[in-house]
């Protein structure tokens, strides 16, 4: 095995520059006492890391990081500081000693091991020559989607993705349990919450541009959804983008108006339905004689025999794979979009209750 040295090319230089920026941001987040600043900096961090991810060839991850880290996370965090406070207390230096020790020890251990790892970009590193390579070799035959990340995500490791969807569902559930469904927003007017600033009729500019933007964003979400096979994207990213469109609507036109178009019950129901759809596809495969989530068995054999041969690739039906992935991506889309909306409703619908003992 020839030894490998990381080349000092443009890629590496950009990589180093971006990482240095990230390091600076982390230090800044640690130093600031303003939570607003910290959140904005974190958003910037996500954005820069999204760019870095593109440099690292992780287009799908980059996409996700951009919509989640820089997008939804920031919105949720801003909502949270609106409902709590935006300054944090100064930490006495004595109290930083133990964390410093812990972090130093952990970091030391990490460095100890990291220096033993193969160099960055080594094509013959153990991580890159075994399973990862097998996917590259087999995915197009097994699954038939050019985007191998999508193939792995939704078919090879589709079970992980089911778990991931469940995690999102659980998060929506948890937030709804803790903060409610924004029912307060429906009960009383006027709303002293996040939607406050959008409520007055003055923001003509905002309204007009929102009316133009929201359809564009929605269409883009569907593009990402259905283009996931071919390029970066998929149900998750699409769901978040869709949710962002709805959140934008709520910010500009007021929470109540959004809730009238998309009731919280609907959002909640759809988020459970998405998981059901995903798991249901798996169970359908079971009943048709395959393993769980084996999309080759999505349709009964009899049904498939009538299909033209053009759907056969190397004597292997990718037809089921294709539709299976489509179906589960739809489940992911529904769950993610509606859960994000549910979470937004929960935060936005929670009036800042400043009395020491709030509602239970």
């Amino acid at each position: 095995m020839p030894s490998f040295a990381t080349p000092l090319d443009a890629n590496t230089i950009v990589d180093i520059a971006l990482l240095a920026m990230l390091a600076v941001i982390v230090v800044a987040v640690a130093r600031t006492r303003s939570l607003l600043t910290a959140i904005i900096l974190t958003s910037v961090y996500s954005f820069i890391s999204a760019v870095w991810l593109v440099v690292m060839d992780a287009a799908d991850v980059s996409f996700t990081e951009a919509v989640v880290g820089a997008g939804v996370s920031t919105i949720i965090a801003l909502g949270a500081i609106l409902l709590t406070r935006s300054e944090c207390s100064r930490i006495p230096w004595r109290e930083t000693l133990l964390p410093l020790l812990l972090v130093t020890v952990t970091g030391g251990l990490l460095v100890y091991a990291a220096l033993d790892l193969p160099s960055l970009g080594d094509p013959s590193a153990p991580a890159n020559i075994y399973v990862g390579r097998l996917y590259l070799q087999h995915a197009e035959h097994d699954i038939g989607t050019p985007n191998i990340v999508t193939a792995v995500l939704s078919s090879y490791r589709g079970f992980d993705t089911l778990g991931e969807t469940t995690v999102i569902f659980a998060a929506g559930l948890g937030v709804a349990l803790l903060l409610g469904f924004g029912e307060r927003a429906l009960q009383d007017t006027p709303r002293p919450s996040m939607a406050k600033m959008a409520e007055s009729g003055q923001h003509v500019v905002l309204r007009v541009s929102a009316k133009m933007l929201i359809p564009m964003i929605s269409i883009y979400a569907f593009y990402v959804q259905f283009h996931g096979d071919l390029g970066p994207g998929g149900g998750f990213q699409a769901g978040v983008i869709m949710a962002v469109a709805i959140i934008l609507h709520a910010l500009v036109f007021g929470l109540q108006e959004t809730m009238e178009s998309i009731p919280p019950q609907l959002a909640r129901g759809l988020s459970a339905f998405g998981v059901l759809l995903y798991a249901g596809v798996g169970v359908v495969n079971l009943t048709n004689g395959g393993n769980f989530l084996d999309y080759d068995h999505l349709f009964p054999r009899i049904f498939e025999e009538g299909l033209p041969d053009s759907h056969l690739v190397g004597g292997h039906h990718i037809w089921g794979q294709h539709f299976g992935i489509l179906a589960i991506e739809l489940g992911v889309f529904l769950t993610v979009a509606s859960t994000m909306v549910t979470i937004f409703y929960a935060f936005a619908g929670r009036a800042p209750d400043l009395s020491p003992h709030g509602e239970g």
């Binding site: 600033m197 905002l206 541009s209 933007l213 564009m216």
Partner: protein
């Protein structure tokens, strides 16, 4: 021919980047909220326009160019709107622009920071 186009495109992109750096400088150095927002938003649109134009020239006549154009349109829509929303909200919250000679509010600001 294509060499020349690539060169032009590259210089445009670099110019855009420079504009962005200058804009950032403005965000840091300008005295009050409104001037800073102004610096930020104008570079946001201007620098992006330059860069995207450059990239279109580099990429040539393809789907990529179309996508870049759409992105440009999107930025032209969102960036001014965002700047407008920001300044509007700031004004509504009681933030007033500072008027008068430069030196004066530079000093004021430093005193306020102290």
């Amino acid at each position: 021919m294509s060499e020349v186009v690539t060169w032009i495109g590259s210089s445009l992109a670099v110019a855009g980047a420079l504009a962005a750096i200058i804009g950032s400088l403005g965000v840091i150095r300008f005295p009050d909220f409104y001037t800073r927002t102004h610096a930020a938003s104008i570079t946001d649109t201007g620098a992006a326009t330059l860069m995207i134009l450059g990239l279109i020239l580099i990429s040539g006549w393809s789907v990529l160019a179309l996508k870049l154009a759409i992105i440009w349109a999107f930025i032209m829509l969102t960036s001014p709107t965002a700047a407008h929303a920001l300044t509007n909200a700031a004004y509504g919250a009681g933030e007033r622009p500072q008027l008068g000679p430069w030196r004066l509010f530079d000093r004021d600001r430093k005193e306020a920071e102290r």
